[in-house]
Symmetry: C2
Subunit: 219 residues, 2 copies
């Protein structure tokens, strides 16, 4: 497997190409840190961006949706989608309005998602989606029933047309703006997890979730 995704006319980063990344390991790490993605798709010519859980393996991004959803109904013959993951790392405060920015890491996957119908691949995809939220969770919980599987549409999007964009560091300013008496720099942002909250109906003796299990995701 190549270490880099090929840039295509649809995935080539048009603006600020020095921020582009096509490195497989870098982009997979961004996907793996994010809890949700936004999925762009059109219904009757109207684009929607819908926040969704997702999972991945080396070949596909997997999505799931209610079989009754707009997306699932549109996916029967394949659905053109854009899946984007964005991690916001900081607010970049410049001396000029124009050069304000955000430090972020994003990955965009575009292409045609297919409805997964094979039972084995559906199980695999759903496992990847649950495991994406919390590694090890699938084997701890009750697997989907026949009824639940029937209510769930699973989509697979090939990890082929993939690009990333990464911005780090302080603001880029016009040379003459450095004399302005304005504070400039970065306000770092990050996601943290607070202590897990029991749902109040635990079977006696069940241990609280070990917080370290999500520590790599919330820095």
């Amino acid at each position: 497997m190549s270490e880099r995704f090929s840039s295509t006319p649809r995935t080539r980063v048009v603006r600020l190409p020095d921020r582009a990344s096509y490195d497989r390991q870098t982009l997979f790490a961004i996907l793996d840190e994010a809890f949700l993605c936004h999925v762009a798709f059109s219904v009757n010519g109207q684009p929607y961006a819908v926040p969704m859980a997702f999972g991945r393996d080396d070949q596909h991004v997997y999505l799931h949706a209610s079989a009754a959803s707009r997306m699932a109904r549109g996916a029967i013959d394949g659905l053109d989608v854009g899946v984007t993951v964005t991690l916001l790392d900081g607010l970049v405060m410049a001396r000029s309005a124009f050069h304000h920015s955000m430090n972020h890491r994003s990955v965009m996957v575009v292409g045609r998602a297919r409805l997964v119908t094979d039972a084995t691949e559906r199980q695999h995809a759903l496992r990847r989606i649950v495991e994406h939220v919390l590694a090890g969770r699938w084997d701890e919980v009750r697997p989907p029933s026949e009824k639940e599987l029937k209510a769930t549409a699973v989509l697979a999007l090939p990890l082929v047309e993939v690009s990333g964009k990464i911005r780090t560091g302080p603001p880029g300013e016009e040379d003459e703006d450095y004399t302005l008496p304005v504070w400039a720099g970065v306000i770092p942002l990050r996601t943290i997890a607070d202590q897990p909250e029991d749902d109040g109906r635990l079977v006696p003796g069940v241990r609280r979730l070990d917080e370290r299990r999500i520590a790599t995701r919330v820095r």
Copy 2:
């Protein structure tokens, strides 16, 4: 002004309608807490979801982009877009794979964005975008030059077709699953800001940004 947005066929929440909100004040508060949105639009039939800064007033969501970007080039005659803001509040861990979920607050605005050409509205929009990141910032920094304005496309999307979705609380489980010896509950997530980092080129005497200025956004 009505206190609620009207539900339309395009903004009606199809799935889990008990999580829907059309309340103006509630949805505006979600928009105002988010630093970025994802914008869905199509180019040659391919949908993209692009993370972007944004601003708003009571009538419009404002977006800006490089005049050379895919989005700006597509917006000359108006561009159908879906703008979505999502705040992730927690990971909902259920006793079954199927009932895993995420606590979140999201707002979706759909419709046709127009390219803003009026100079006064363009200034207003850019001010709203900068102020959305940090209230009071516009008046502290150098305003856009003619050259910078020329390089910037500004889009306005009417706040008319707007819907929200909110999930809170513990997992919803099947009754029979409560006997399973599995930890279930919520892992709360939130965004925090660390201490602002100077860019190292401040004019002597410039004071560090007061962190309290973003305290309402990062709980």
